[in-house]
Symmetry: C2
Subunit: 435 residues, 2 copies
Amino acid sequence: MAFPLIPGVSGSDTASGPTIGNFRLDNGMEVVVIPDRRAPVVTHMVWYKVGGADEPKGKSGIAHFLEHLMFKGTEKHPGGFSKQVAELGGQENAFTGHDYTAYFQRVAREHLAAMMAFESDRMNGLALTDAVVDPERNVVLEERKMRVDNDPGAQLGEEISSTLFTHHPYGTPIIGWEDEITGLSRQDALDFHDRFYTPNNATLIVAGDVTEEEVRILAQESYGKVARRAEPPPRLRPQEPRQRASRRVTLADRRVEQPILQRYWRAPSYRRAEAGEAEALDLLAQILGGGPTSRLYRTLVVEEKLAASAGTWYGGTALDETRFGFWAAPQPGQSFATIEGAAERIIADLAANGVGEAELERAKTRLIAEAIYAQDSQSTLARYYGATLSTGGNVESLQSWPQRVAAVEGEALRRVAQKHLVDGHSVTGLLEGLA
Amino acid sequence: MAFPLIPGVSGSDTASGPTIGNFRLDNGMEVVVIPDRRAPVVTHMVWYKVGGADEPKGKSGIAHFLEHLMFKGTEKHPGGFSKQVAELGGQENAFTGHDYTAYFQRVAREHLAAMMAFESDRMNGLALTDAVVDPERNVVLEERKMRVDNDPGAQLGEEISSTLFTHHPYGTPIIGWEDEITGLSRQDALDFHDRFYTPNNATLIVAGDVTEEEVRILAQESYGKVARRAEPPPRLRPQEPRQRASRRVTLADRRVEQPILQRYWRAPSYRRAEAGEAEALDLLAQILGGGPTSRLYRTLVVEEKLAASAGTWYGGTALDETRFGFWAAPQPGQSFATIEGAAERIIADLAANGVGEAELERAKTRLIAEAIYAQDSQSTLARYYGATLSTGGNVESLQSWPQRVAAVEGEALRRVAQKHLVDGHSVTGLLEGLA
């Protein structure tokens, strides 16, 4: 799912949609203002155009580790500012992706200036000591243990991704490989911060009860004073070579209670796709496996009772070639092979015969409706803008998304299924229990 | 197979073996002299401690491309010196590995000084123009097309390696991925040369009718005058994370006439292994699949007639974790599954019950004999030294190899089979025809 923004649905704005503010500070930092006057709150986010896929060789996990260390304080705010945010009644969080790293707070509108002061201060520089860095490295290692080592499904997910992307860094988990996390140093974090956390590599998103002009003044007083420290390199990652063989990974673990079958195909992202292809892939994911009326669900779950659940998804918001995924949870006694065969027949049928008009219209309605609902959440909307602007899109491409989805013709779905959902572009993963 | 050098078998030398000369020039270049007085010829090799696994991100193939460009000339020798070598009746060649790149000539002993002058001159610097680089890039792309695109077996080999080493650069083919070769520039080659082709990153090996003193004088006059241009970085490649799932790749192509089953396991190299482990793996490869008396061959080929051929191999001469491999060519009508099952039973039996004394002795004799025969070839012997010294070994470790092999106990083979030949460290590759 991707890029929602339907004109004319947001709060007090007119039928032509909320007027999105979009400008740059002198130091190159881009600013997006999304007015939303329903409540006197604001969502304040800073997105850096750097993530797990931009890490130096052998330093996997440094983007995520730095995200942790950003909460450890600066000269001006030793110990960080989380306590102050909490005392002001705010919420805060951060997340690291392959293509971006983001920090956000949600506060009453009168505290926006304070958040900008805090956030621009830690963009400007961190005060890290080994006494802080060393225990935090253990926190991250523990996080990896909890999330991956204790979860066979997560382990298989890493395996599928790393055998699908053997060369492109999307095959490396965002949290990093254990032995490389262990080797990450204070200096690695500072170097990464210096190189990438410069205002010309960042996007400020403010959504909420605020005007563009108010944000402009506050941003100039805070972010505007951060020096442009570096020119981040072009984001050219090693591209995945052509896949020649069909690939299959199997993980058996006694902790597995529900077996799962997954298949990931390589598919172009919005950034990399030909015109209309990514929108068609979003619709294809709806028709094949988006909820209980989808083709795969109806056949595998409802009619043939082979699986307890099944679905498809498409990760279109990415800088480089991305993934289209299928998953199914077999009913007891049903083999992976039976489910794979049935799913392959359903996909082959769509690739050969296309989709029905009514089915396509329903999928468009559902997809666009999801986007409309998403607007109801200030922070979801802000996230859409942040993710889009960090992966090669812009305000216009996000705003025109519903029209582009609406314009997709059935033939385009047949074409992307034929082109991308083929065995030579995929890895099949099987998660099974041990008797 | 690895590291042969048996004392007392080479030419006119005494029972304590040929006296190997081993010293360094002032600029840090290591020199090895292997006297061999049987004929008035010398083998002259320069080994650089850099290969495909040392390439910058996104520049796969640059080590091999530079190897090609090294023949294109310098200021002193525009157009290179291949013609002169041929006119002197010499032979020359070059090769690129993951861990090293080597250049060699075999000439009459009186031309050694000329070879050193040529070779040290192109170590000192290259005169490359786009007019030379651009067509040579096409030569390499054509080489890749011939070797890989036209050979389904080679394609599957790339797939097996890249899904076994998803993170470590051994998963990247030495020739490079096509789209990255296309992007390699003259400047990339010059940068790589500048950084790695410095005398302190090179080993000179001279084998043949020459004394250590003669080589020292000649080397000082030639290589000794090349400035130490750079300090090559430590050879720390990203290590492969723990594998959690069993992995399988299948390639079907109508050009395949003989199906092949392969399995590669991750295994420590001589450089990375615990004491005695690598020697045990070399012996294990002999006992399991080294020729017609090996366990796998006897069962799969001779007794059960499941396969037309079968064998195992171990790539111990590597800087980092390497591969132990099994392959079998099924007889018509025999399934991959039957052969896999039989091979797994044979391996499991060895891992459970170990090897027999007589069988172990035969394997040692065979392995050590291969090393003795290898000494008969001046260039093979020189290659052993070059490869060993470029992957973390030294003259002593190479010379003590036969004694270390002789000292391996049967229990060690059982242990390395149990530890390394397990499903969780492997990729299985199937090459099949299309009806």
